[in-house]
């Protein structure tokens, strides 16, 4: 695998959508390529940042209202 192949598969790797063979190939490349490893960590960080930033819980009063409405 070269850096271009790695870059093309990075989204699916971060999203855990590659098959086991592809994962192995990509991991082997990352171990030997610090730049791709940094890129992978950046994209994984970006995904976590979006998740944590958009995280919020349902307001408790609304949850209770809905529970009563549906019971």
């Amino acid at each position: 695998m070269n850096c271009k192949d790695c870059s093309e598969k990075l989204d699916r790797f971060v999203d855990r959508e590659l098959n086991s063979t592809e994962v192995l190939e990509l991991q082997l490349h990352l171990e030997s390529c610090p730049d791709c490893q940094d890129h992978y960590e950046f994209e994984a960080h970006m995904k976590r940042l979006v998740k944590h930033s958009c995280d919020c819980d349902t307001p408790p009063a609304f949850r209770e209202k809905l529970r009563q409405l549906l019971s």
Binding site: S7, D11, R12, D15, R16, E17, D35, D38, H39, E41, F42, E43, H45, M46, K47, L49, V50, K51, H52, S53, C54, D55, C56, D57, T58, P59, F62, R63, K65, L66, R67, L69, L70, S71
Partner: protein, 191 residues
């Protein structure tokens, strides 16, 4: 009249997915009151059409599908109103920052405020925003996201790719405007 045990059990299970539906509704409508109305309507509709849910399939995806369909019906009128993304080309934030001499994680990601990330997500067109919500925020697989959105997996992948590029472009623009990086990507010198 007391509700049937089956209906009660269904409602209980459906309510375990409330946070996912509320988060999705809030980011789609960008308004807490409209989000609550949308979620309530989605749950009432889910109970009404309980018989159409196939046991053993992904209830969270099924509920999200009901909610987002209501969103498109109620808030957008027509799916054609969704605007497409501007073509930002192949914008890879990591490469841009690295090529311009910044440390992409330490200099930029660590300094972005959560509110700016939310703003960038909420300014994506809804068709692209909902893919980011499902895959990045809720952790759906591409297959489950495709089920919830009623599109092929390839469409999920292409929308996600474009949405992430737009998101990274928006965050880069914000980083430049707010002085986190200079226009050439270099971090500001700490005083």
């Amino acid at each position: 009249m007391a509700e049937s045990p089956a209906r009660t059990a269904f409602a209980e299970e459906a309510l375990t997915h409330l946070d996912t539906l509320y988060r999705g509704a809030l980011r789609l409508t960008r308004d807490p009151d409209q989000a609550q109305d949308l979620v309530q309507e989605a749950y009432l509709r889910a109970l009404r059409y309980q018989h159409s849910y196939q046991q053993g399939t992904n209830m969270k995806a099924w509920l999200f599908a009901i909610m987002r369909n209501l969103f498109w019906d109620r808030f957008k009128g027509s799916r054609k109103e969704d605007v497409s993304l501007d073509d930002v080309g192949e914008f890879v934030l990591y490469e841009k920052l690295r090529d311009e001499g910044a440390r992409p994680e330490a200099d930029v990601l660590d300094k972005l405020a959560a509110s700016e990330v939310v703003k960038a997500v909420e300014t994506l067109p809804p068709l692209h925003r909902e893919v980011v919500l499902l895959v990045d925020v809720e952790g759906f697989s591409y297959k489950d996201a495709a089920t919830a959105l009623g599109v092929p997996i390839g469409t999920v992948m292409s929308r996600l790719h474009r949405a992430r590029q737009q998101l990274q472009k928006s965050l880069y623009d914000y980083a430049v405007e707010s002085g986190i990086v200079r226009g050439n990507g270099r971090p500001q010198v700490q005083q």
